[in-house]
């Protein structure tokens, strides 16, 4: 086998075949995937089915704390568990750029295998395309996940009530700032790591304590601010966030200061925001803190009013307020 990915690896012929058999199936294989049929046949317990999809396009593909493979598994798992799903199966589709090192691809596939095993999901169907050099960015991955929502779990923004507490499961912005620090040209050095992690255990622990959690979201692209605004709008409420309670690493704050960024708009990959009934908020929080992925969890705010003009505002550390908006456009480093 060549040590680079060539267009032929995506041609559908013997090169594709060997790549899939020798690398993907060998690493990720299970009786369902091994059949390599056009579509996989699956077994699921009864219950409501949930489905989600995401493509992953992160640069660089390997970064402190993770890689695009781990991200692709955990990202989709997290979207499933945000609505209370028990994840069962994933599909896995690669778009590889001609010329990348086979070794990199192998590493990513290994990482996917490890992540899938860690969460207990099976990869049951897949696809590998190769695009010409200069028409991709090393590796793009799509994963689509399905699972079953147990009876009794019914999260929805409409259930949100005034007084509900807003919980953030850990420090804000680690992933986005880690990726930014990798960017060629910025030349920032930190010991930051992406928070890339699966949230299924955390969600289970939370739902065990309080099955009536109103809504959960993972604040990925667009950050905490965008997710809170979405929730406020879908529920028709005003949400207050107390800035001094929002967990954030000094390095993340430092990088945001340097580059003029707002950490509320920075992406996370192993965090969740939950709106929880006030009466059980502390108990949910304790359950979260008992797990490593929730050890820094905090109640960061609450739902303060039903309103025709949904909004999210921050109570600053000096006791004043400001509006917290959704991200508009991309965040760009600035000097002013």
């Amino acid at each position: 086998m060549s040590d680079k990915i060539l267009l032929g690896h995506g041609s559908g012929g013997t090169m594709t075949r060997k790549l899939i058999e020798n690398l993907i199936v060998k690493t990720l294989g299970n009786p369902t995937l091994n059949k390599l049929t056009d579509a996989a046949t699956l077994n699921l317990p009864s219950g409501r089915l949930a489905m989600t999809t995401d493509s992953f396009v992160v640069t660089p593909p390997v970064f402190p704390g993770g890689d695009i493979g781990k991200l692709a598994v955990y990202g989709t798992i997290n979207d499933l568990v945000m609505v209370g799903t028990k994840p069962f199966y994933l599909s896995l589709a690669f778009i590889l750029e001609e010329g990348i090192e086979l070794e990199l691809f192998r590493r990513i596939v290994d990482s996917i295998a490890e992540a899938a095993e860690n969460v207990g999901v099976e990869i049951v169907t897949g696809d590998t395309k190769v695009v010409e050099k200069g028409k991709g960015d090393q590796i793009y991955i799509n994963t689509t996940g399905i699972g079953i929502i147990p009876d009794g779990i019914e999260m929805s923004p409409e259930r949100i009530q005034v007084g509900d507490k807003v919980i953030l499961s850990g420090t804000m912005g680690d992933h986005g700032i880690t990726i930014l620090a990798c960017r060629k040209g910025l030349e920032m050095k930190t010991d930051l790591k992406s928070d890339c992690a699966p949230l299924h255990r955390l969600v289970n622990a939370m739902l065990d304590v309080e099955p009536k959690i109103r809504v959960m979201r993972d604040p990925t692209r667009g950050g905490v601010a965008s997710v809170l605004n979405e929730i406020a709008e879908q529920a028709g409420v005003e949400i207050k966030v107390e800035e001094s309670r929002v967990p954030i690493l000094p390095q993340v704050q430092g990088m945001c200061d340097l580059l003029g960024l707002d950490p509320f708009h920075v992406a996370n990959e192993g965090k969740l925001i939950a709106v929880v009934p006030a009466e059980s908020a502390e108990e949910v929080l304790s359950a979260m803190r008992a797990l490593p992925e929730g050890k820094d969890a905090a109640i960061i705010g609450e739902v303060v009013a039903k309103t025709e003009y949904p909004e999210v505002f921050v109570e600053t550390e000096i006791g004043t307020t400001r509006i917290l908006e959704m991200l508009a456009g991309d965040q760009l480093p600035r000097i002013c």
């Binding site: 200061d257 340097l258 003029g260």
Partner: protein
């Protein structure tokens, strides 16, 4: 205008230094503060130190503040 972030110089080679701010290290041009030495805090704007932070003045200002509000009580 002009975002400035304070940081501490942790090493210097010729006109450049490594400056650390809240766990972030970055190469910073020190040509505008030739008298800066390792351990100093500098104000960094766009990758360049524009001034050495004067710790005594900082203390003085804070003291002034405390007095200023103190004499009301």
């Amino acid at each position: 205008m002009c975002i400035g972030v304070p940081g501490q110089i942790i090493s210097i080679i010729r006109f450049e230094g490594i400056v650390e701010t809240k766990g972030i290290q970055r190469k910073v041009n020190l040509a505008l503060v030739p008298e800066a030495k390792v351990g100093d805090y500098v104000m960094v704007h766009a990758g360049t130190a524009i001034q050495i932070i004067n710790n005594e003045e900082a203390q003085a200002t804070l003291k002034l503040l405390e007095e200023l509000v103190g004499d009301e009580e």
